[in-house]
């Protein structure tokens, strides 16, 4: 259909089921994030990558779980591919990030990882 993105290759039912488990927390965390960027310096990757905004904890959280939530789980394989870079390459889940408002960023990143993993999207270190 016009305007509707193809979600072939992604089991959206499974994605939705995973998201549903954490729905309230996800919704509240996305709402509570004030986009203040004060979490940036708490990420060692952000500090080590010349303060590139793409490494900010909030950027990673909003562009992974945020997209999953906005699209209500109807993501395509390209979305997940982008998310893979975000939640695996740019985050090591060291859980040292600090949110002044109290958003549990590591858990949100872990949720995005879980969704990606359920669809077979994860880094394949032996091939790369």
């Amino acid at each position: 259909m016009f305007g509707k993105k193809s979600t072939t290759g992604v089991n959206t039912k499974e994605v939705k089921a995973i998201l549903n488990e954490k729905k309230t927390k996800m919704e509240l965390s996305l709402k509570a994030c004030a986009h203040c960027t004060l979490c940036a310096e708490s990420c060692f990757l952000f500090m080590g990558r010349n303060k590139d905004p793409k490494y900010m904890p909030s950027y990673k959280f909003l562009n992974s779980v945020g997209i999953l939530y906005k699209k209500k789980g109807n993501v395509d394989i390209l979305d997940l591919g982008e998310m893979r870079d975000l939640v695996w390459e740019r985050c090591v889940l060291c859980t040292r990030c600090y949110c002044p408002v109290g958003v549990d960023i590591p858990e949100m990143i872990a949720l995005a990882r879980r969704v990606c993993r359920s669809q077979g999207v994860y880094p394949q270190y032996e091939r790369e």
Partner: protein, 233 residues
């Protein structure tokens, strides 16, 4: 026909300074209570196990004080140490945003007229100065949203909307107090309306971080928690 004399205008003016105030406060308090329970339902109580001294368990304090918390390092690594300017701006903005409206003389006079009770008020000059501070802080936030790369990277249109909504009661209040525009009624109506909209938005929109912060930073045990929480996710 003079705009301010139309029936609609009178009705709207009476509505926003009458029933709408009650609606705003009911939505604000009702929504806040609802959100507090909904947030707490996401967490559960956790008993903190204490290590009691006993045979083989006693951990003596080091005499040289090496185990003392390094407060200088702690401060350096905190947001206040890494980003002192934004800490000051943000704290000032948020504290004044909540405290100031309660102590403005005009608000207390209205309370006195309506219920015969009022609380201490700030001198008018002080409130005026503090209002300018709040507007300045909001301007700094706006500057960051527009020109600082890292903030722009995650800014959406709703951020501007909510910044505008938070600053609007102060800007209109400032204009109304100084009677900058001839139509005082219009400005004061906008002042009341923006305040009401902001109150109603707190529990259900981005402003929910006001409730979220208090609940999560104070009740959940974590490295960064404020106070001694005894709950966990």
């Amino acid at each position: 026909m003079d705009f301010s004399n139309t029936f609609f205008w009178t009705f709207a003016y009476d509505f926003i300074r009458g029933p709408m105030v009650w609606i705003a406060f009911i939505v604000f308090f009702g929504g806040t209570i609802f959100q507090i329970f909904s947030l707490l339902s996401l967490t559960k109580k956790q008993t903190i196990s204490k290590l009691t001294p006993g045979p083989g368990r006693f951990i003596p304090k080091r005499a040289d004080g090496e185990d003392k918390k390094d407060w200088v390092m702690w401060l350096k690594l905190s947001i206040a140490g890494v980003n002192p300017f934004m800490t000051i701006v943000s704290t000032t903005f948020h504290v004044l945003l909540i405290i100031m409206p309660i102590f403005v003389l005009g608000h207390n006079i209205l309370l006195d007229n309506s219920f015969g009770l009022s609380i201490i008020s700030l001198p008018e000059g002080v409130s005026d100065f503090l209002t300018i501070i709040v507007i300045l802080c909001a301007a700094i936030f706006l500057y960051r949203r527009l020109f600082v790369d890292r903030v722009r990277a995650i800014t959406t249109w709703s951020d501007y909307l909510f910044l505008f909504l938070a600053a609007a009661p102060f800007v209109t209040g400032f204009f109304a107090y100084h009677q900058v525009f001839e139509n005082y009624r219009l400005i004061i109506s906008l002042h009341i309306l923006s305040g009401e909209l902001m109150l109603m938005a707190v529990p259900f929109t981005k402003f929910v971080h006001m409730i979220y912060l208090v609940i999560f930073r104070f009740t959940i045990v974590s490295e960064y928690s404020l106070g001694r929480g005894n709950r966990t996710w």
